[in-house]
């Protein structure tokens, strides 16, 4: 019914997608998976005729039923496309923060769809309001009537995404394009949204194009899959078939890299020696915040409430929780970056280091990789001065570490802007490890990376742990990653530690209801 035939789109003579064909049948959910830059979003936008001005349609066409929406060499008929958008096909975007207009109440924003496409059926404001409220209810928004008059900033991320979905389904379009609809949401909300999308698909029997980088998610929701790489479709077929019997090398690699909850007895070695290297007791962390009152001064807002736990030498303690639950604040307090704390921290290691999530902001953009690797050797206070001022020795150490994290000598003199995200994260790891600390705080170290890169970096972290006997406090929102790396797991919510225990115990028999919901295998 909806078809893309031999589509090739290029930007500045570089092909973003080349020779793509796909067909979406009524009632099915077609998944489009692949790593960032593989051309997923460009494909989706071309369906709507929403490509940017720089995009050149080199060949192929897009047809909707019998109508041709886009064709190479022909100027797109904007009027016709407009009549299709919203009415026959609609889109749900990744970022609910930016896809709603912040200056407009959410109700009227959704009602605009009715005004534009179904004015004959809903001629007056009253009937439009009724329809919007009903749609709000159908996407699981509570107190829909009062919600109508709220602004986007008064809503949580999950609620905003539901509003976006309401906007997409209100005219019962034949096709819904969902471009990473859950990526910006917390795990528990993610599950709810996925369930909702599936429910809508069953109820309305419309088709859905589901774009995601998360293969676990694709497996749960999609009936058929298209695997994309560098603008080409490398594999297509039924979801289960691709997962159980991938044909191409790339698909095999991609599937193998997905962190599942399979136990690998040969990898699952607990390196812990049983020596306590960090013990935190009754730790409360505060942030100074400007009071909302005029002349109110500053108030202390508590973000972590009497946390207590230990870390043993060589182990990995996984820390899970939703965004804003105080995971990062806890780390920064222990590392001494935030000193506004109460309680006791007993750290037996020298200078624990931290690895951050964003590979683009964790390296100094104006210094060479070599300089950044040598810097910790120069600043550390465990060696005598003669060694650390020895340039040759420092360079030797830096090169050795580069090689250890899988980068060759040529990276020594490069600038961070010349490196990819995965390579930067390797440099970050090298920089954190070069002084051989015994404790490392890893704050979502692989969350910004593509699946295959993620897998490589996790392997590297595990290897280095065995080699140097490092303990990790490993923060992640991705339950599967946590399952893979952790020996023990700690669950946080709203600044409280809810549960802490051995991985298998927490996963198989969680004590806490929230833990159960968080870790639930979807």
């Amino acid at each position: 019914m909806i078809k893309i035939e031999n589509l090739t789109i290029s930007f500045d003579d570089k092909k973003a997608v080349s020779d793509i064909s796909l067909e979406i049948k009524p009632g099915e959910i077609l998944g489009l998976v692949g790593e960032s830059g593989s051309g997923k979003s460009v494909t989706a936008l071309s369906l709507m005729g929403l490509m940017s001005h720089e995009a050149v349609l080199e060949s192929g066409r897009v047809t909707f039923g019998d109508t041709c929406l886009l064709k190479a060499g022909e100027k797109p008929d904007e009027k016709m496309l407009r009549s299709y958008r919203g009415k026959h096909m609609s889109m749900v975007f990744q970022e609910p923060m930016t896809s709603l207009n912040p200056t407009m109440k959410v109700g009227p924003q959704v009602a605009e769809q009715l005004l534009l496409h179904a004015k004959d059926r809903y001629p007056d404001a009253q009937s439009r309001r009724k329809c919007v409220v009903e749609t709000f209810e159908s996407v699981g928004l509570k107190e829909a009537d009062s919600l109508y008059d709220k602004y986007p900033h008064q809503l949580s991320g999950g609620m905003r995404q539901r509003v976006m979905i309401a906007m997409a389904v209100i005219l019962h379009p034949e096709l819904i394009i969902a471009d990473e609809p859950t990526t910006a949401l917390d795990v528990t909300i993610q599950n709810q949204i996925v369930r909702l999308l599936k429910e809508i698909n069953e109820r309305e029997n419309n088709s859905m194009l589901f774009i995601t980088h998360d293969l676990n998610l694709a497996r749960r929701i999609c009936t058929r899959l298209l695997v994309m790489k560098d603008g080409k479709v490398v594999e297509r077929g039924d979801t289960e078939k691709i997962f159980t019997d991938p044909q191409t090398d790339y698909a095999k690699k991609l599937i193998a890299a997905v962190p599942g909850r399979v136990k690998h007895p040969e990898i699952d070695i607990n390196n812990s020696t049983g020596n306590k290297i960090l013990s935190v007791r009754d730790l409360s962390v505060f942030y100074k915040e400007q009071s909302k009152k005029l002349f109110g001064g500053k108030i202390n807002r508590q973000v972590v409430f009497s946390a207590g736990f230990d870390i043993y030498e060589g182990e990995t303690l996984g820390l899970v929780g939703e965004s804003g639950c105080g995971k990062s604040s806890l780390c920064k307090a222990i590392l001494g970056i935030n000193t506004n704390i109460k309680g006791s921290i007993e750290n037996k290691t020298v200078r624990p280091q931290m690895i951050f999530q964003d590979p683009y902001s964790s390296l100094n953009p104006v210094r060479t990789i070599g300089w950044q690797l040598e810097e910790p050797l120069y600043t550390m206070d465990v060696l005598d001065k003669d060694i650390k001022t020895d340039k040759k020795w420092r360079k030797e150490q830096a090169l050795k570490m580069l090689e250890r994290v899988g980068l060759d000598e040529s990276y020594y003199s490069r600038m961070p802007s010349q490196l990819s995200g995965g390579q930067r994260q390797r440099v970050s790891i090298a920089q954190a490890l070069i002084t051989k600390p015994k404790l490392i705080f890893a704050d979502e170290p692989v969350s910004a990376l593509d699946v295959t890169i993620q897998d490589q970096v996790l392997d590297l972290l595990e290897d280095l742990q065995q080699e140097y006997g490092i303990a990790y406090l490993f923060i992640s929102h991705d339950i599967n990653v946590i399952h893979r790396v952790s020996d023990r797991i700690m669950v946080m919510k709203d600044g409280h530690i809810l549960e802490i225990g051995d991985r298998d115990k927490v996963f198989e028999d969680p004590e806490n209801a929230y833990t159960k919901e968080l870790l639930a295998e979807p």
Binding site: S361, P365, T379, S417
Partner: protein
């Protein structure tokens, strides 16, 4: 090497930088040359040569005392250029020192210093310089000092803003975890990151310094006669606008030239910066 300096990241010629650098090169060559050589003595008067319109012998013409205007402009460029360079050098250095400390550490020092900076900023810079010069007396050194005091606040603001933006960056937090000393973090980790922004504000500051110096000389409280400066030449020339329009045109256009070259340079630098990401 030189080729790569004048090209943006995507290989296009950075026209702003090329034009700005060429214009600035003319200014710098003339000002250096004026120390050793000018076509005529800038102070030699001649009753017979009064108010000669531009010719090949006197390309900018002569003034009311029969002095060669081109030679005087050359000297004046040298004076203006030197004063502006020192003003920017002093206020820029002060800006980095004060701005980095207040921006990075914040707290009570920041509050106090920034209020002082606000107070200085409250005065128009010419007025402030007037006050300082009337306290210290006239002379080149005092003009430099007066303008440097007036220009420091804007540099403090810019440097402080950049330091506040960068002090909580992930790579700075990591530098702290490595155990780097505070001065090391300030000047080796953060400072190189603000240079591209800083150079833009230096060129803008240089512009303002040229204009302010000319303004002071025009008002008669800058560099004193018989030394030529662009401002004092303009002030002398305005009485003869009807009879000898070239007299005012020469220093006026020179000011425009110098200001434009610095503006082009700053635009060129900021374009380079954007290319880098």
């Amino acid at each position: 090497m030189i080729n790569s300096v004048f090209r943006t990241k995507d290989g296009k010629l950075n026209t702003y930088l090329v034009i700005g650098a060429s214009m600035a090169a003319v200014v710098i060559i003339l000002s250096v040359l004026s120390i050793f050589w000018t076509p005529y003595s800038p102070t030699a008067m001649s009753a017979a040569q009064r108010f000669k319109a531009p010719t090949f012998a006197h390309i900018f013409g002569t003034d009311n005392f029969g002095r060669d205007i081109f030679s005087r402009v050359m000297k004046a460029i040298g004076t203006s250029f030197l004063i502006s360079v020192f003003v920017v050098l002093i206020s820029g250095t002060a800006g980095i020192l004060i701005g980095s400390v207040t921006g990075y550490f914040g707290g009570i020092i920041d509050t106090v210093v920034m209020r002082v900076v606000d107070a200085i900023n409250g005065f128009p810079s010419i007025l402030l310089a007037l006050v300082v010069i009337s306290l210290l007396g006239k002379g080149r050194a005092n003009v430099v000092l007066a303008l440097a005091i007036a220009f420091t606040p804007s540099f403090v603001r810019i440097v402080r803003g950049e330091f506040i933006r960068l002090r909580d960056a992930d790579y700075i937090i990591r530098a702290r975890l490595m155990g780097a000393k505070k001065t090391r973090i300030l000047f080796l980790h953060i400072l190189p990151n603000i240079f591209s922004t800083f150079w833009v504000s230096v060129t803008i500051g240089f512009n303002n310094a040229i204009l302010a110096e000319s303004g002071l000389s025009y008002l008669g409280i800058g560099v004193q006669a018989p030394d030529a400066t662009l401002g004092s030449m303009l002030s002398d020339a305005q009485g003869y606008l009807g009879t000898a329009p070239w007299y005012a045109l020469a220093p006026g256009l020179t000011i425009v030239w110098m200001v434009l070259s610095a503006a082009m340079l700053s635009e060129g630098i900021s374009r380079r910066k954007k290319g880098v990401r």
